[in-house]
Amino acid sequence: MAHRKVGFGLRGIGHAVVNGVGRLGYASRFFLMILIGSGASFRRIHLTIREIYFTGVMSLIIILVSGLFVGMVLGLQGYETLQKYGSESALGSLVALSLVRELGPVLAALLFASRAGSAITAEIGLMKATEQIAAMEMMAVDPISRVVAPRFWAGVTSMPLLAAMFSAVGVFGGYLVGVVFIGVDVGSFWSQMEAAVDFRQDIVNGVIKSVVFGIAVTAIALFEGYDAPPTAEGVSHATTRTVVTSALVVLGLDFILTVFMFRGV
């Protein structure tokens, strides 16, 4: 009896792996098609700008508010810990480094996935369900280059900007709590920060991270939408998968990138 169950279990795992690999292959081909079909996104830049408005500007409020709160919490917690060692003057550098290296890119990407990524998946999925994609193909217009590619480049462009704004607002939040409320010395707050944050090591690496996350989240959102079964249920599942997959991929990529960037492997 037991070996039967194991057999079923193994078969289940094998099935999932084969499916997963097949889907990954399909997704890679989709990604390649986006790159090939990208000409129009640059030649007709207004298509991309329109999507930057929808993906980027719409996510702005949630990014700014979250950034402010995360920065304020960092200020509070950082102060608590630092003052034990009498080094509360390092609060500025702690807040800035945490945000620029880690929290800015990662949290902005997670928020971006749940705000813009899910919207992209739902929109593309519905366009498919209502035959808009098929209609476009019948009009001899390639939906990959007309619909998908501009959204991709819009996401890739918005993500680093959003992450930068998240960090900037976060630093302000840390300043508010640390300097204005708690009373850390304003001069040392900024000067320590300026001394600790390295342009190449911290800022550029942070930007690289957010570009990679932008590519990952937008590509996942577009693929899930394009691949969704053309029904209400299919689109709703795809939307959920976008958020879950993006979160896992962003966190996984963040670990890998951090290992390479800050451990000097």
């Binding site: 929109e123 519905l126 366009m127 209502t130 035959e131 808009q132 098929a134 209609a135 476009m136 193909e137 019948m138 009009m139 001899a140 217009v141 390639d142 007309r146």
Partner: protein, 271 residues
């Protein structure tokens, strides 16, 4: 050239998975004619149009448009061919993120370099033809079902295609719009020297305008003829369809286990 067929379908078979939908269809659509395809819901009319448009490929058999085998074209040739085709989708398929005006202008922007003033004139002309000039600023979500279908019609004819395919253009139209759209389809066909395929259930309206009719049932062509031949037909199937009788050789039901058995099954399983 004039006597030649623009679309030639021979021995066409198509299945979705294991489910056969079309079983050996033969049809010819002559150049310049307006041909109707009629049949019960689910008999494979939309599938036939999609095969002609090349969005699905035949399982076996051939579909030729202007002498070219559609299933054998690569993407580039297929897109070249589709530029000369217009398709009205059964459910409109308007682009929901674009206004009515931009929907109609879509192909002009994608495929031509016409200046904005010319595009504007063309769009207004097409919208005027379907009686929706005043609706150009609305979004698709602000249209009724019948209006959306008329906008989709205006969009489909935007670039004066040589082959027009209409999937249920009359569904959801009031009697006045119905007559206007029917006449428009006929006039477009004749004025442009185009060829048109009209899929419809509205037999009375379509018999007024079409040149030829194919009747489909269960994935095969069961009757064909000119409008007059169809009207005079004594074939029980055609008679039943033309006069809308529920008794006759055509079954209204999707093939299934007999209803009685189903009920008995339910009884056996139920509480």
């Amino acid at each position: 050239m004039p006597a030649e067929n623009l679309v030639e379908i021979s021995d066409l078979n198509f299945s979705y998975g294991k489910h056969p939908i079309l079983k050996g269809i033969n049809m010819n659509i002559p150049r310049g004619k307006l041909v109707a395809i009629m049949g019960l819901s689910g008999c494979g009319k939309t599938t036939t149009l999609r095969l002609i448009g090349g969005s699905i490929r035949p399982t076996t058999g051939s579909v030729k448009v202007a002498g070219k085998e559609v299933g054998g074209l690569d993407t580039e040739d297929l897109y070249t061919m589709r530029r000369k085709m217009g398709m009205l989708f059964q459910f409109g398929a308007l682009f929901t993120d674009l206004s009515v005006y931009e929907n109609v202008a879509f192909q002009m922007r994608e495929h031509t370099d016409l200046p904005e003033t010319v595009i504007r004139d063309l769009v207004m002309m097409k919208l005027h033809a379907v009686g929706l000039l005043g609706a150009h600023g609305l979004m698709p979500s602000e249209l009724s079902g019948g209006m959306a279908r008329r906008v989709a019609l205006a969009r489909a004819i935007a670039l004066d295609p040589m082959l027009m395919m209409y999937d249920e253009p009359f569904a959801g139209l009031d009697p006045i719009s119905l007559a206007v759209i029917g006449n428009l389809i006929r006039r477009l066909n004749d004025a442009l020297g185009a060829t048109s395929i009209l899929v419809t259930h509205d037999i009375q309206e379509s018999l007024k305008i079409v040149d030829y009719v194919y009747f489909m049932a269960d994935g095969v062509v069961v009757a064909e003829g000119t409008a007059d031949e169809i009207k005079a037909s004594r074939l029980p199937f055609v008679h039943q369809f033309v006069w809308g009788e529920s008794d006759g050789p055509v079954s209204f039901h999707y093939p299934s286990a007999p209803y009685r058995e189903d009920l008995l099954l339910e009884l056996a399983h139920g509480a």
